[in-house]
């Protein structure tokens, strides 16, 4: 079972595009080559829908043994991985702080290879922070798989991942892929009159304390200068 690190990185000034470029072109190839860690995505948070300026980065490892090897190989990076230490310090111009989550996938969550094989891709990511009522996260995930996933897929949403936090009980993360901005607009326009989605939202209180969604994008290399 794969495991994941999900980072939300607070950006300094206009460094968002530059940090994404650096992660794609230098950081991710280094982590893949030296430690086998795979980049699932480096996305710009769409500021109009959440916190800004921010970048989200999602990393995949094979399992906890791989996680342990990869971290042992990196820390302390001044001794074990000086190239990474240099990247880390160079990136201070673009970011100085962030927040990471260690995540376990649900049984129905595709891994990177499976997602690629099934062509789970699109321009827009719907990022949902999940906070369950005490003891209800597993039940929520069961209902998500059995009841919501078919509704979502009928509306063109593809599940990129549904996760439980490895250390914080009740905390989860859902990532959905939307085809493009027109797909998002169609969904938003249709939602108020969509009886099935409305019924699902009404039931969320059976399992959840809160559900907080925002959008992120995987910008093309030439399009983002902020």
């Amino acid at each position: 079972m794969a495991v994941y690190i999900h980072e939300r990185i607070e950006i300094e000034g206009g460094g968002r595009g530059k940090l994404i470029d650096m992660i794609r072109s230098r950081w991710a190839p280094h982590l893949a080559r030296e430690h086998g860690v795979r980049l699932v995505g480096a996305w710009a948070t769409v500021g109009s829908t959440g916190k800004w300026p921010e970048v989200c980065v999602h990393w995949e490892m094979d399992d906890w043994a791989h996680f342990s090897r990869a971290q042992r190989g990196q820390y302390p990076m001044e001794e074990r991985d000086v190239s990474l230490a240099e990247l880390w310090n160079q990136a201070l111009e673009y970011r100085q702080r962030g927040h990471s989550m260690l995540l376990k996938p649900t049984s129905f969550s595709p891994d990177l290879a499976g997602g690629s094989a099934e062509s789970i891709e699109g321009d827009v990511i719907l990022h949902e922070d999940v906070l369950a009522l005490p003891g209800r996260l597993s039940s929520y995930h069961a209902a998500l798989a059995a009841e919501f996933l078919p509704l979502a897929e009928k509306r063109g949403l593809r599940l990129l991942g549904a996760y439980a936090h490895a250390l914080q009980p009740g905390t989860g993360l859902n990532l959905w892929v939307l085809r493009d901005w027109d797909h998002w607009r169609e969904l938003m326009e249709a939602t108020p009159g969509d009886a099935e989605l409305r019924a699902w939202n009404q039931r969320l209180g059976e399992w959840l304390e809160d559900l907080d969604g925002f959008l992120a994008v995987r910008p093309p290399g030439t399009a983002l200068r902020t």
């Binding site: 109009s48 916190k51 719907l126 493009d180 901005w181 108020p192 809160d210 559900l211 093309p220 902020t226």
Partner: protein, 242 residues
Amino acid sequence: MNPNIYLHEIIRTVPGREEPYMASVLSVHSDGARRRGEQAPGAFGQFRSAGVSGSWPGAINIWENTWSGLARDLKLQFQDAARDTAMEEWWNRNLHLRRGGYDRILIPAPFSPTRADLNARGAHGKAFLHEILWLPFGEPERYLEEFERRLLPAAQQYGLELIGAFHVAMRPRQVLTLMGAAEWAHFGAFLESADTDPALRAWHEYRASCVARAEEVVLIPARHDPLASSETRSDRPLTSRP
């Protein structure tokens, strides 16, 4: 029925730079050259924290738009190969005015006015009560109905008027409401009467029964915002002031 949607921005401004920031961001939103012939989203309202309740300092921008207009703007901002260079230039040259923020997309309740509605009734004020509320799943719709049915008539008795009442897109527990008082004395009387006015007391009892979390901030309007003044509002275009 209000057909629009609203982009709501809470801005961590550089302390003391709230008014220059609000004027600056209005200028980039109003820049017709960025729009390629499309209509610019209008400023629904721009405000800054008064510092009497809630977080400060900060600014709040609310822009009136449509789903189509917002999707077009976001595509231009993030994925258009031609790039929104005017926005990029503005973003990188105004870092001394703001440090970051948190945005929401708001869906108006049926009774929530448009900017044109507010203009037509000459809406203005010196103090604005802005609330973001977390309610049980399924309750936001009822909350907004009760807000219209119970609170608005009672608040109007004290000189407070509705500026907006909204659901929050992709955040099914949240609602956001905004009311304005023409004078601080009106706002004070409204607060003073919370326990003694039977209608307000009933409203607060309902609120206490369902609100899980509330973030309030008391705001004053940007000096250039039409909501700031009753004297000259008819002379003030919505989006072209610097």
